[in-house]
Subunit: 422 residues, 2 copies
């Protein structure tokens, strides 16, 4: 069997060599006393190996509170490897190995898991996304351009009938994709089943008339029995997408629903700030997305250029591109990036160029609802922006004979509007 | 329906009032543009409310990298509340609400979720721990003192037969509780089913001879189908405890296994450092444990006094005590604290006094294996320490006519041994 490799950015009050050794021991066969059972043969077979150590800098103060104090704290990168024999091809057990107790060790004053490499054996256990990029586009009937989407707003508070009435405006406006907000759960004011019924009535009737079935990501996040029931209702009603919040589900929850439902899973990463916000603790998106793609994520949220949150544009783009990198041997497992957060027609050109392909979902909220031409104008402006980008024509040029795009660029222009992330 | 309350420790480049308003909006009915659908009536019904704001300090630099820069950053505590009508009594959806996108907001330069209060309606949806503190003690046949436990070490690398042979020494030594290390998964070198078979042969035969059935927490962490299969095998073999790693399972995964298996769930918190290590991002144990107790955690790891990790003793004790606080109306949902990490007979007295009750599991590794009297001596030293603490007799006095305790205090004494966390 192969070996699993993980890379960390760490800071230590001891030495990088010592910290690497402690982590390797703690996360495989070691304990704080040399035990009779820990023979050389056992350690050779089951111990984690330190593969690489690179020092990068030192500082006088620890980045995080640390029980061991030192004159100087050394920062660097280490790579460890584990025999797959220890944990098998089980993602939950891999997570406990590479991202378990080690974050609490007194030997580190900063620790981020920055990369992971899954050997090809994982492809035998995890089939990955059911639809992925190409399957989603085919199911939504969108060709050769990004899918234009939006989020139902207000996020919560609309009744099923009010939601359906908003959806009607959106599908009439020509949108490709709509999603529930991640806060839209299954509360008594807007129960799932009733919302599904009202919304699918609109979507199915529009599809019957026009041949275009708008993809709606219904939030089914819940306990497993309820999720399965709601996913079944969703499929029976002709729905084409289910949305879940990844942190509450866990890897085990996502795999369980992936195995149950034959629909693209639209995966929301709310809670991601806990893992990403501090430069000194957490897990990189580069690592995190690999777990979820293996477990079956079809769509993954990646924020957006000039977003209203905190990620830099370069990070957003690097994360979006990472979803297309092959993982676990030759298997692609490509997931579809979902851009969202303060998006309007303004950022489309840059997004298409930076991502390197156009198989993504581009969600705008205010960028559609706030357009002077109303919902139809907002959607048209985004489709025009996408067409310009795909055709290699600068947006401001294409806008000359495309009114809605022109209006959007003027209203949402990065210097004085929503597009700057305010 | 009641309201859900959450409290945050936050730092902001704007004002506490502004940050509180942004979070309340983002996590309920708001968006970055005032939308026609967001009526006053809707906001009144579905919006989050700012309940309380208290400033604590200011600083010149932001605690975390932040896109909005300011002359001064204000730190303080805010409490928000949500109508349960928004998300219903669904823990996964509560998590997405109180610990979702907000951590990424540019309006905060530090954010920790520090408290949560679940209204009594949750008791209708979540039955909580099946066994909890008293059920576990009854099942293990331990009365009026802490359960003495250990972890199989080396953590990984032993074969099923080697594991069983270590277990034999431990049960003969009089131990109450044994657990797999969280790294012991279901790999080809030590497959679950074979390990279960070999270990239960030892435990069942010892129970037949002596009437004492040692509780063994088998790590069943895995994808749900496999977990259910292994939990079934475990029950059929006469096993009395299943262990899971909480982060990989997620709330959805834990609830699913809770509903399937009638055994105490021994819940491991590996990965906890990501949530706890930074003072500027994350979730407090006070909050975190409430989610898991509602979802069905019977035992929860709380580290230990003078541990080898980084938590201060006061934090450890506060966390352990929190598992006994009632939650969701009148329902107790008491979970059993599990002390572990560098524990020996030395910390027993202080632990019993500080926790305020003795219904806990006390796991020692080196504190048993490293005892001069061998495994039996190590276990005896811990039982003696527990008896002394329960009887209110100082350990050093009780040690005068209890040899194993005396040896342990000498060897592991806090000033020069494992007990100081090294």
């Amino acid at each position: 069997m192969g070996r699993l490799f993980a890379t960390y950015d760490l800071e230590t009050p001891t030495t990088l060599e010592q910290a690497a050794k402690v982590i390797a021991g703690e996360q495989s066969s070691g304990t704080f006393l040399k035990l009779p059972g820990e023979t050389d043969r056992l350690r050779e077979r089951s111990g984690a190996r330190v593969e690489q150590i690179t020092a990068t800098s030192t500082s006088r103060t620890p980045s995080l509170p640390c029980r061991i104090s030192a004159e100087s704290y050394t920062r660097g990168e280490i790579t460890l490897s584990w025999p797959l024999d220890n944990m098998g091809t089980s993602l939950p057990n891999v997570l406990a190995t590479v991202a378990g107790n080690l974050f609490e060790l007194a030997d580190v004053s900063a620790l981020r898991l920055t990369d992971i490499s899954f050997p090809k054996e994982f492809a035998m256990s995890y089939p990955g996304p059911t639809y992925g990029r190409l399957g989603t586009l085919a199911l939504a009937g969108v060709k050769d351009r990004p899918m234009i989407g939006t989020i139902v707003k207000p996020s919560v508070g609309l009744s099923p009938v009010e939601t359906a009435s908003l959806v009607e405006k959106l599908v009439e406006g020509g949108i490709d994709f709509i999603k529930d907000d991640e806060l839209q759960a299954n509360g008594p004011h807007c129960p799932f089943e009733e919302r599904l019924h009202e919304v699918m009535k609109v979507i199915n009737s529009h599809a019957d008339r026009t041949g275009k079935k708008v993809m709606y990501a219904f939030n089914i996040t819940d306990e497993l029995d309820t999720m399965r029931r709601n996913a079944d209702l969703l499929q029976r009603a002709g729905g084409t997408c289910a949305m879940v919040s990844l942190f509450p589900l866990g890897l085990t929850g996502l795999t369980a629903i992936r195995r149950h439902v034959d629909l693209p899973l639209h995966c929301h990463r709310n809670g991601w700030g806990i893992y990403s916000r501090s430069p000194d603790i957490g897990i990189s998106f580069r690592v995190w997305q690999k777990f979820w793609r293996l477990a079956g994520a079809d769509h993954l949220h990646v924020n957006g250029i000039a977003n209203k949150f905190t990620e830099a544009d370069e990070t957003v783009i690097e994360n979006a591109r990472s979803l297309g990198n092959p993982l676990s041997g030759e298997h692609g497992y490509q997931a579809m990036p979902v851009f969202s957060s303060g998006q309007t027609a303004v950022q489309m050109e840059e997004t298409c160029q930076a991502v390197g392909h156009t198989d993504f979902i581009y969600c705008a909220g205010g960028g559609i609802m706030g357009h002077p031409g109303g919902v139809a104008g907002g959607v048209a402006s985004l489709i025009q922006a996408a067409e310009a980008a795909v055709g290699g024509i600068p947006a401001h040029v294409f806008a000359k004979d495309h009114k809605e795009l022109s209006q959007a660029l003027e209203l949402f222009g990065r210097k004085n509007g929503a597009g700057d992330g305010k």
